[in-house]
């Protein structure tokens, strides 16, 4: 590691991400590796924070998004210091679920939470978090399942498909609570004692904003300014940016901002195309990212991009965020009843993955991904169409084509004439 050794001479800029205390060089974008000698502590100091792990590609510190399936698609997890932007689905059902998974993961790992919302009280949001599937809970349920359907299949050697016996057995459920990503039961609420044991800060916009406050005219909306000041305050006071060196145990701050850009934040980006505060949101994102890059925090933002009138703004927002994931649910659309999509609840689009500290990034090859929400599992998998088992399906589509071709009159020109159904 010669490259690391050459810059080990400066004041701790190389080395583990959490070992230094001075304000100027705490960023999470540092190579995790043994520190070179010459500093006041001897030997390598790899202080690990619960719920994080280094990336295999570049040693970047990663946290889980709360969805192990999504972690895999993002290259192992969410890098500390980055922004995950979720483009909401039309009725904000699955995006709020992802938001809750993220916060619940923070509670299970003992991270500090900062929840900001303009339409819902953060205390209520925390009450509605899904319950984690931890060791003792799920083991009991699995035991019950085994007791109910006692099948001796697993002990019998396979006679016909004997090659499959050699495949490793897949483990479906979660195993222990010290894993990197956890599974959650969407139908149960998180136990009250977990919420009370956790440390969280809430930002509810109607409480924080007061109309008589004198503020210097800046082109950010008032709500955004207050939110940025709140976040910066928390980061500074609790020492997430390394400004408080007495803190023994470093921790991650998980920031969750719900429905950013909606009119409830005072932003008119979803109402008009060229409003007064058209650059308020982009400036907010820029300053927020600046705050995150210099502290041990990670942020999830859900944004109703389908409501934004000016499409160029969406391109700007995408460029200013690190990871962008779009959700498209089938609810209310014609795809809900389409038999082709019956296995899935919606599509998930990974629109952007950052290249951090690297020339390449872990882009997955699969671009068509569908998700399905089961009670205990939110699966994301490659979209595949179910097998077409009925033998009348293809014939009926040809019939439709022939019908429509007949209806076109002869005056329509050569194109219509060519639409006779071609039966090979």
């Amino acid at each position: 590691m010669a490259a690391v050794a050459t810059c080990g001479g400066d004041a701790g800029s190389a080395g583990s991400a959490v070992a230094t205390g001075s304000k100027s060089n705490v960023t999470s974008f540092q190579r995790r590796g043994p520190r070179a000698s010459g500093t006041n502590d001897s030997g390598p100091r790899l202080v690990s924070i619960t719920g994080t792990r280094p990336s295999v590609r570049n040693g970047q510190l990663l946290v889980s998004t709360g969805l192990p399936a999504l972690d895999q698609l993002l290259g192992g997890g969410l890098a500390v210091g980055t922004v995950l932007l979720i483009e909401e689905d039309k009725y904000n059902i699955y995006s709020s679920l992802l938001f809750k998974y993220f916060l619940a993961e923070g509670i299970v790992n003992g991270h500090t939470l900062l929840v900001a919302s303009a339409n819902e009280d953060p205390a209520n949001i925390l009450q509605e978090l899904p319950a984690p599937l931890l060791d003792d809970n799920c083991k009991k349920e699995f035991d019950e399942d085994v007791y109910n359907h006692k099948t001796p299949e697993s002990n019998i050697k396979m006679k016909i498909a004997w090659r499959y016996q050699l495949l490793p057995k897949m483990e479906i459920g979660p195993v222990s609570s010290s894993r990197f990503g956890h599974y959650y039961d969407a139908s149960k609420r998180i136990p009250q004692e977990l919420i009370e044991a956790s440390k969280w800060h809430g930002f509810f916009l109607p409480e924080k904003i007061s109309s008589t406050l004198k503020v210097e005219p800046c082109s950010l909306t008032h709500g955004y300014i207050k939110l940025l000041q709140f976040i910066q305050n928390i980061i500074y006071e609790e020492g997430f940016d390394g400004s408080n060196p007495q803190k023994k145990q470093k921790n991650i701050l998980r920031i969750g901002i719900q429905n950013l850009g909606s009119p409830l934040w005072g932003d008119d980006i979803c109402c008009t195309e060229n409003g007064d505060s058209s650059h308020s949101l982009t400036k907010f994102l820029y300053v927020l990212r600046g705050l995150l890059r210099t502290s041990l925090s990670v942020c999830i933002i859900t944004m109703p991009t389908h409501l934004i009138q000016n499409k160029a703004v969406i391109a700007h927002i995408t460029n200013l965020s690190d990871i962008v994931v779009g959700l498209e649910s089938f609810i209310g659309s014609e795809r809900e009843t389409n038999p082709l999509y019956k296995d899935y609840h919606g599509l998930i689009h990974i629109r952007q993955i950052p290249r951090l500290n690297n020339l390449v990034c872990d882009e997955s090859d699969v671009k068509d991904l569908g998700f399905k929400l089961k009670r205990k599992l939110f699966t994301i998998e490659r979209l595949h169409l179910p097998p077409d088992l009925s033998d009348t399906v293809s014939r009926s589509s040809k019939q439709d084509l022939a019908e429509s071709a007949k209806r076109l009159g002869p005056g329509c020109g050569m194109m219509a004439g060519g639409k006779k159904h071609l039966d090979f």
């Binding site: 910066q232 160029a312 391109a315």
Partner: protein, 266 residues
């Protein structure tokens, strides 16, 4: 710096041209590898570099620079590199009012500002030092990237003015180079970005355009690079020379090959 790209551009750090504006643009893909290339190229050419990095932090460029063979921390300490970290400065200026004008002053202004403070910063950084110490060959301004300035509320005209002033100072007066990156929004209608891109295309001597493949994502070919040499000041009847290559980005380098000649296909 990528040796293969040097061959394609027919330059080496020792004999690079001076007084040129290079435009990097990317459409539907990430063109930041070009920024890393030029940063390490000019540092190896012993130039004084002023890097206005608006989109990523210093350690990101540092770590990638180490893979390409330059040490940004040492360059900054020696005075060869002047680094303006946009993200960190934005936090400073947003939360505390500054007494003297800050390069990113426009963030605090309510209406569309101008980039005069940023230009003053660049001019101050690149002005030749008279004390006669280790002379750098020529100054270089590198901006990553200009589309961020548009999304933060500045108009395309303000950004074009800034580039014009920088070109007059750096390219003409100090005989240096300017390299800027602009995103091409493609089919999304972004008028300001189009104005900026067209305006810069007419002024630049070399345009490197990284595009995603028209057929979509491919694991072995990450995109296509179009190189266009121009002569903006002389109106000659000669056509501008243009080349197209496809590339694949690896961990420490980028390999270029002719269209359709990817090693995965052959």
């Amino acid at each position: 710096m990528f040796p293969e790209l040097n061959n394609l551009l027919n330059t080496t750090p020792d004999r690079a041209e001076q007084g040129k504006l290079t435009l990097l643009c990317d459409a539907k893909t990430d063109g930041s590898f070009l920024v890393h290339h030029f940063l390490s190229f000019y540092l190896k050419a012993n130039c004084k570099v002023c890097f206005v990095a608006l989109i990523q932090s210093f350690s990101h460029y540092n770590i990638v620079g180490q893979k390409l063979g330059v040490n940004l921390t040492m360059a900054r300490e020696r005075g060869q590199l002047v680094f303006l970290e946009g993200l960190k400065s934005a936090v400073d200026i947003f939360f505390q009012a500054q007494e003297k004008p800050h390069p990113l002053q426009f963030l605090r202004e309510a209406n569309a500002g101008n980039l005069k403070p940023l230009f003053e910063f660049v001019r101050e950084a690149l002005k030749p030092v008279d004390s006669g110490e280790a002379g750098w060959t020529y100054p270089v301004l590198l901006v990553d990237d200009l589309s961020v300035l548009l999304s933060l509320g500045l108009g395309a005209v303000a950004v074009l003015d800034f580039i014009h002033y920088c070109r007059a100072t750096v390219c003409w007066e100090l005989k240096g180079n300017v390299v800027v990156l602009v995103h091409d929004s493609g089919d999304v209608e972004d008028e300001e970005n189009d104005i900026l891109l067209n305006g810069l295309s007419h002024q630049s001597h070399l345009i490197l355009r990284a595009e995603g493949l028209a057929t979509g994502f491919c694991r072995d070919v990450h995109g296509q690079l179009r190189i266009l040499w121009r002569r903006p000041s002389q109106s000659t009847s000669q056509r501008d020379q243009s080349l197209t290559y496809q590339y694949k980005i690896q961990d420490r380098s980028v390999s270029f090959f002719a269209k359709g000649m990817s090693p995965a296909v052959l």
